[in-house]
């Protein structure tokens, strides 16, 4: 049947996606300098691996104990019922927020047998997030996208990605001539690179158009979506001038062992079929003071993140000392995402 066209084989490993032409594997000889760096990294990642192994082991135990229990089925059905009739997250009291988060955690435990952590942490006082992107530095490595997909539990089947990296031929900045679908070693001779994602506009056109207020701008400037309130009309996608929004055309799928279990209700928690999603500046990280995954993963330092309200922040230094620009500023959307050059 025709609709099979888009259905993906879930067992096949996304080999092309994860490792095109052995990318990332550094095959040249390591010199003394690199050994130094790797020493500390190795210890850390070994520890991480060990913890992950232990967690996986314990969750396996959990699953085997509770999988066929009738009680669990009943509880799950009851929880589903309550979840279906809950209100819009934006209008919930703190207790209601806590309650839905606990229900979602419990539902995951009943379904998959593991434990996830869903945060309902609100905005930090006196914080307005801003982002700057250095187009002299970006080299199109796409490490940001890799990190983003893993951090935010994006659908692996449809290869959903929030970030797009556009390759421009030097001498012009015309997006129509740019290519975000390049397939060669980077950086290509005579080209420069520019990344786009949700710009978290101060005056977001997507928020206005939503018929059910399922998307809104938080106090810290992050434009978020309540995945459980969204009805999937995709008006926001039509209204976004920056291609910032993505839709779950089919049920999203993340392999159990790849799920990032540190989640936020408005961020990277597991989504469902037929709802919108997008970059949230990794709300589950940024509200704890951490950098978003793309900022952390960028090997060139092209991505700068921080608090726009803090005059001593690096983002404010960039705005004050570099010649910055934003995309489609004429639309009055006031993106909190600036570009600059060295």
């Amino acid at each position: 049947m025709f609709f099979r066209r888009k259905k993906k084989n879930q067992d096949a490993c996304p080999s092309v996606a994860d490792n095109p032409k052995g990318a990332g594997c550094s095959c040249r000889q390591q010199d003394g300098y690199e050994q130094v760096i790797n020493k500390s990294l190795d210890r850390r990642s070994a520890l991480k691996g060990l913890t992950a192994g232990l967690l996986a082991g314990s969750s396996l135990l959990n699953t085997s104990c509770s999988i066929t229990s009738n009680e669990d089925e009943k509880e799950l059905a009851a929880l589903k019922w309550e979840e279906y009739f809950k209100g819009n997250y934006k209008l919930m009291t703190d207790e209601e927020k806590r309650a839905t988060v606990e229900r979602l955690e419990r539902m995951y435990a009943l379904r998959n047998g593991g434990k996830i952590n869903i945060s309902d942490k609100g905005p930090v006082k006196d914080v307005l997030y801003g982002y700057a992107f250095n187009i002299s530095k970006c080299r199109g490595y796409m490490d940001c996208i890799n990190a983003c997909v893993k951090e935010n539990n994006q659908d692996r089947d449809s290869q959903m990605q929030y970030i797009r990296i556009h390759e421009f031929k030097k001498g012009q900045m015309n997006f129509e001539m740019a290519d975000d679908n390049f397939y060669h070693e980077v950086p290509a001779e005579g080209h420069f690179y520019l990344g786009t994602q949700c710009f978290h506009c101060d005056n977001p056109p997507c928020v206005n158009v939503c018929p059910v207020e399922a998307t809104w701008k938080e106090k810290d400037g992050i434009v978020v979506i309540d995945y459980d309130w969204c009805i999937g009309c995709r008006y926001c996608q039509a209204a976004c001038p920056y291609d910032g929004r993505r839709f779950n055309w089919s049920a999203p799928h993340v392999p159990e062992n790849e799920i990032n279990k540190d989640q936020h209700y408005l961020g990277n928690r597991l989504r469902k079929k037929g709802v919108m999603e997008k970059c949230t500046f990794c709300i589950q990280r940024s509200r704890n003071g951490q950098n978003p995954a793309c900022v952390e993963a960028c090997p060139t330092g092209a991505r700068i993140f921080g608090n726009l309200l803090d005059p001593n922040s690096t983002i404010r230094w960039v705005l004050a000392n570099k010649k910055v620009f934003r995309l489609k500023e004429d639309l009055g959307t006031e993106p909190k995402f600036w570009y600059f050059m060295d």
Binding site: F2, F3, P205, V212, I231, G232, A238, D243, G274
Partner: protein
């Protein structure tokens, strides 16, 4: 109450009997609806991934048809206005038919919007009080209100009239006339609001035009009454309901003027897009000429332009328009032309090129096409039922007999 039950009973009896042709027609529609329902079931199970829509072209056939049908629904006003307010008797024969068409078109509109939703089960979120309706910010919230309001008027007014005619009583003007008055403005409202839904998005320069609203109205007042003429022609032929030539000629006049205005507006749009080409013209360039090897819409839009011109010429020349067979042909051509132009020709190029200039084409899948056909069948089904009940009441064949049988 007794009268209402009797009306439902009689109505049910009325719609279940008829000629063989009638039964075949209804059977075919039912089959098409079932096929559409099967396709929609596939869509429910697998998600909208079974459609041709993607993150780059995120609205397709469903929203195209929705937009077009809002116009058809709005066009019923062209018949209501003169009948009730100007007391033009020629139109009154057609007005119940027009309102029936508006109801069917609205049913289709709501169905198209519903099948386009990613989470139809969560649609209750849009109901005020138990959900959240983002009014007045979201134009979609406006659209929900005006469409449902319009549906309400177009159901209650004809029902009231039929209900009284059914009992052989004369309906009271004080009751229905205010509703009629409101619905006249409401009809303009539904179509303007739907146009603003698109025109209010600076993200899509192809839609972000002040002309979009007026153009919607002009094309609607061409396509809607054109469809009514065709329906009247069928009703005239297959039912005892007599419709004067004069009525059809008057509606044809409406179609003609609207089609001419529509062409003028099309001309100004083309001038703006192609006299000084900016990168905002890329959608139009893509639609009319294709960009690179991407040219899926080119044959469609030229067909539309050709049919539109031909139909308008036939309508404009008095001698040709008065020949009814030619008139019906022109109406059919015009209807198809505007369906293409306002459906696929408006919605799809809005997304092509995308916000970053990417040209990703859209091709509907069989699921989308099947669901679309199913919904059109649903509309035809509803319209047939309404006409089947309304006609015998209007010609006095179907009357309330409750008093006699009770006495």
């Amino acid at each position: 109450m007794k009268v209402a039950i009797s009306l439902i009973y009689d109505g049910f009896k009325e719609v279940t009997k008829g000629t063989t042709a009638y039964h075949i027609w209804m059977a075919v529609l039912t089959l098409l609806m079932l096929f559409g329902a099967y396709a929609y079931y596939q869509q429910i199970v697998h998600g909208l991934a079974v459609t041709g829509m993607t993150d780059r072209v995120s609205w397709g056939l469903y929203i195209s048809n929705f937009t077009f049908l809002v116009g058809v629904a709005a066009a019923a006003v062209m018949l209501v206005l003169p009948t009730y307010i100007l007391k033009d008797i020629d139109f009154s024969q057609a007005v119940l038919i027009g309102e029936g068409m508006a109801v069917s078109a609205l049913v289709m509109c709501l169905a198209f919007v519903t099948v386009d939703m990613g989470g139809p089960a969560r649609l209750w979120h849009i109901i005020p009080v138990i959900g959240v309706l983002n009014w007045p910010n979201s134009m979609l919230a406006w659209d929900v209100i005006v469409l449902n309001g319009y549906l309400f008027f177009n159901l209650t007014i004809p029902f009231y009239l039929l209900y009284y005619h059914y009992q052989g009583r004369k309906p009271r003007e004080a009751v229905y006339l205010p509703g009629v008055l409101i619905s006249v403005f409401w009809a303009v409202g539904i179509h303007l609001v739907t146009a603003f839904l698109y025109a209010g998005l600076p993200a899509r320069p192809f839609w972000n035009s002040a002309l979009l609203g007026p153009r919607f109205l002009a094309s609607a007042f061409a396509a809607g009454p054109a469809l009514i003429i065709l329906a009247l022609a069928v009703i005239r032929k297959y039912t005892p309901y007599s419709i004067a030539d004069k009525t059809i000629d008057k509606i044809a006049m409406v179609v003609t003027v609207a089609a001419q205005i529509n062409l003028i507006m099309l001309g100004s749009e083309l001038f703006k897009e192609f006299y000084s080409v900016t990168h905002h013209s890329n959608s139009a360039i893509y639609m009319f000429f294709g960009i690179g090897n991407k040219n899926a819409l080119v044959p469609w839009i030229w067909t539309s332009i050709g049919l539109n011109l031909l139909a308008t010429v036939i309508l404009t020349i008095n001698r040709l328009r008065r020949k009814h067979n030619l008139l019906y042909l022109a109406c059919a051509l015009l209807f198809v032309a505007i369906w293409i132009d306002k459906g696929m020709g408006l919605i799809i190029p809005g997304f092509i090129p995308g916000p970053w200039g990417n040209i990703v084409e859209y091709f509907p899948t069989w699921v989308e096409i099947a669901v679309t056909i199913g919904i059109w069948a649903l509309g035809a089904f509803v319209f047939t039922l309404l006409v089947k009940i309304a006609v015998p009441i209007e010609i006095g064949k179907l009357r309330y007999r409750g008093n006699q049988s009770a006495g």
